[in-house]
């Protein structure tokens, strides 16, 4: 099964992203905690992309796809045509440094890398495709 959702780059649409993930995956055998973690990781990915690659322009659209060919193995795709923002290029900041620098960002990348098994980026035509793999 595949599921697809298109949204404009407004942070107010993050709630819609979370609902889309929960609704699409509701009939799979996923624990509440795992579901919560997946929803969180996708929220973090979309908010990062909206802020850093699209400057929260609601006219810019990103596409989210869930590929579920195996009921325990999911591929989450985020497709956009902005500047590529590869989180693998960013090292996670030390928690202690975040406290000291009073930075409010940087935690999201750490969360996504902890939750997802693998994150890949590919350029397909003029689109950026980010694939996040998760086995439950």
């Amino acid at each position: 099964m595949n599921y697809q959702y298109n949204i404009g780059c407004s942070l107010h649409n993050l709630k819609g992203v979370r609902e889309f993930i929960r609704t699409s995956l509701q009939h799979y055998d996923i624990s509440d905690l795992e579901m919560g973690a997946i929803v969180l990781a996708m929220d973090e990915m979309c908010s990062n992309l909206m802020i850093h690659a699209h400057h929260c322009n609601p006219d810019h659209v990103i596409q989210i796809r869930i590929v579920a060919n195996d009921p325990h193995k999911f591929i989450f795709e985020i497709i956009d045509d902005g500047m590529m923002f590869d989180i693998n290029d960013f090292s996670e900041p030390e928690i202690g440094n975040l406290v000291h620098e009073k930075r409010k960002g940087g935690l999201g990348i750490r969360l996504v890398k902890t939750i997802m098994d693998k994150i890949e980026y590919k350029k397909e035509g003029d689109k950026n495709v980010c694939r996040l793999f998760k086995t439950v």
Partner: protein
């Protein structure tokens, strides 16, 4: 969407978060904590019993106050976290950096001990 209510009990400021905190709403949490700290409260309890979701934007707000609270000797305690919300703190190891209590009474007790 999030609603934040503040009420005062036994000299402590109780900040109740109702709803979800994500990148679009974390500013409201930031403002509420800034107000509480700015008004000089030495005991701030954050009621998370109606907090349904928090993303890194919200966690970052808590993180950004850790040093200021320490410098100002403010006892800052979170309580009533649902398992799914606590899990987000745990993934990042923040559960060790912040004081987290089960219920309001425990939180008040902990805050009183911390402010001695």
């Amino acid at each position: 969407m999030v609603h934040i209510k503040r009420l005062q009990e036994n000299g402590a400021d109780i900040v109740a978060i109702i709803g979800e905190i994500d990148a679009s709403s974390s500013i409201e949490l930031d403002l509420a904590i800034a107000k509480s700290v700015g008004e000089g409260y030495k005991k701030i309890l954050v009621d998370c019993s109606a907090l349904e979701y928090i993303s890194s934007a919200g966690l970052g707000v808590f993180m950004s106050y850790i040093e200021e609270l320490r410098d100002k000797n403010v006892a800052f305690v979170l309580f009533g976290l649902k398992e799914k919300v606590l899990n987000t703190f745990s993934i990042l190891g923040l559960a060790d950096l912040l004081k987290i209590a089960t219920g309001k009474e425990d939180a008040m007790k902990l805050a009183n001990e911390l402010s001695v």
